[in-house]
Symmetry: C2
Subunit: 267 residues, 2 copies
């Protein structure tokens, strides 16, 4: 499983201050802690929803430089704003990365796919269009098909698409958990070379016992074909769920990761 560490996200208040005040040490710690806990990618989202576009571009450049200096992991440049993505990608200095994210609308695809093609990096592709998140598997798959078509035009290799089937709270519509999982399975069937990802904590919104629900949903997603997950790698419940899930579906050769983690905890 590819673990995309989600902690550097300026929508979280404590992170917002770190970024606005350019607290280099604190940002580096966030990156290091996630890398040590097992993150494969470090996500960087500096969008506060407040500052100007120019502010965000400067913040992204700074954050990319700090994180590249702190850890040797690939980055996940996270923004809905193409100039911010471009600023982040341009600041990489050879570090590999992925883009998070595009959706299936003309404007987003027209601006973001050229960045993915130009920088030769994977891109998270959301199963939604300009009208929002479709309620059905067919609707979400249709959005994915549109992205595939445009990606092919740009000669983006299929394995550089990470489809996110999108997770809605089951508390508002109990069918949505299954819609997400079935979309995931349908994407893997329709585009076997493409990869899949999701951030899944939304699923339990509004219900008690969220941590266990999120872990259970992750297990199901591992069976449905999840390749990458956007999560907090310091969350041991979720990391255990990744390891046991992969062990159960034969993705952990000789159970090395599973048993190693188990022995570590037993100490």
């Amino acid at each position: 499983m590819i673990i995309i560490g989600e902690k550097i996200n300026a929508t979280r208040k404590s992170v917002r201050s770190i970024i606005q005040e350019r607290q280099e040490k604190a940002l580096a710690s966030l990156a290091k802690d996630q890398a040590e806990a097992g993150a494969s990618y470090i996500d960087i989202n500096v969008g506060t929803g407040r500052g100007s576009a120019a502010d965000e571009i400067e913040a992204m450049k700074w954050a990319v430089a700090v994180v590249c200096n702190a850890v040797d992991k690939p980055l996940c440049i996270d923004s809905a704003d193409p100039p911010v993505l471009e600023a982040g990608l341009s600041a990489l200095e050879g570090r590999s990365a992925m883009i998070n994210s595009t959706k299936a609308d003309e404007k987003s695809l027209g601006e973001i796919l050229p960045l993915a093609a130009g920088f030769g990096v994977p891109v998270v592709a959301l199963a939604m269009d300009d009208k929002g998140i479709p309620e059905t598997v067919d609707g979400r798959l249709k959005a994915c098909r549109m992205i595939v078509e445009k990606a092919r035009e740009k000669k983006i290799p299929m394995e550089n698409l990470f489809f996110d089937p999108l997770v809605l709270p089951i508390s508002t519509d109990a069918r949505q958990g299954r819609v997400t999982l079935d979309t995931l399975a349908a994407v893997k069937e329709a585009f076997p070379e493409a990869r899949t990802t999701m951030g899944l904590s939304n699923v339990s919104y509004g219900l008690p016992g969220r941590s266990a629900l999120n872990a259970a949903f992750l297990q199901m997603a591992v069976y449905a074909g999840l390749d990458a997950v956007i999560m907090d790698p310091l969350d041991e419940v979720m990391m255990d769920a990744v390891r046991s899930g992969e062990a159960l579906v034969g993705k952990d050769r000789h159970f090395r990761k599973y048993t190693r983690a188990f022995r570590k905890k037993a100490r």
Copy 2:
């Protein structure tokens, strides 16, 4: 989820004594405890692998009478031996039940399906034949097809078949977890009216952290289409897994079971 309480099984040493010594109170307690914990069916297996066939028939009659007297739940008459099954079914006195189990071989089907048809009860149908448990999804599905064919000849309604895709330890073959789950999904697709069941603790045999692995496998199976599970209803980890699994795939209307259990624990 139909919970088949597995605790009354004479292969367990403590239960063997209860049955051999005809400890009525102790057997009744085992039944009551499971019923109170949420069992839908109480499984009864009196096979010690030691006594004579006549002993086992007498033991089954006694156990059925005691359990029928102790709780008002349906029974799951569990034996590989048709005369023992018949003795148990004949002792029901109107209580509903299911048979556990037949496999896809001529002898087993020829003796057990007539009992299922004659008593009008569901039967657990193991996805294996006279050569053992097939290693592949196709092999197991073929066994299920043979059972369906013979069941149709006997006019057994499809919903009275509970297919068990069978669970092997992943520690000896890491692919087997996925084979079980994919067989489950394939059975639901091939025979949508049929139902599915399994006893899943085998999956984690030989690995550490078995309880969490079993719970994770159960979650995956809930997504793959599991209708019934043979388990210990007093195992809170597994019961939580059932409830969160069903909540996530939209099988718990208004999240009543999930939130009720959660509130109960919070007290």
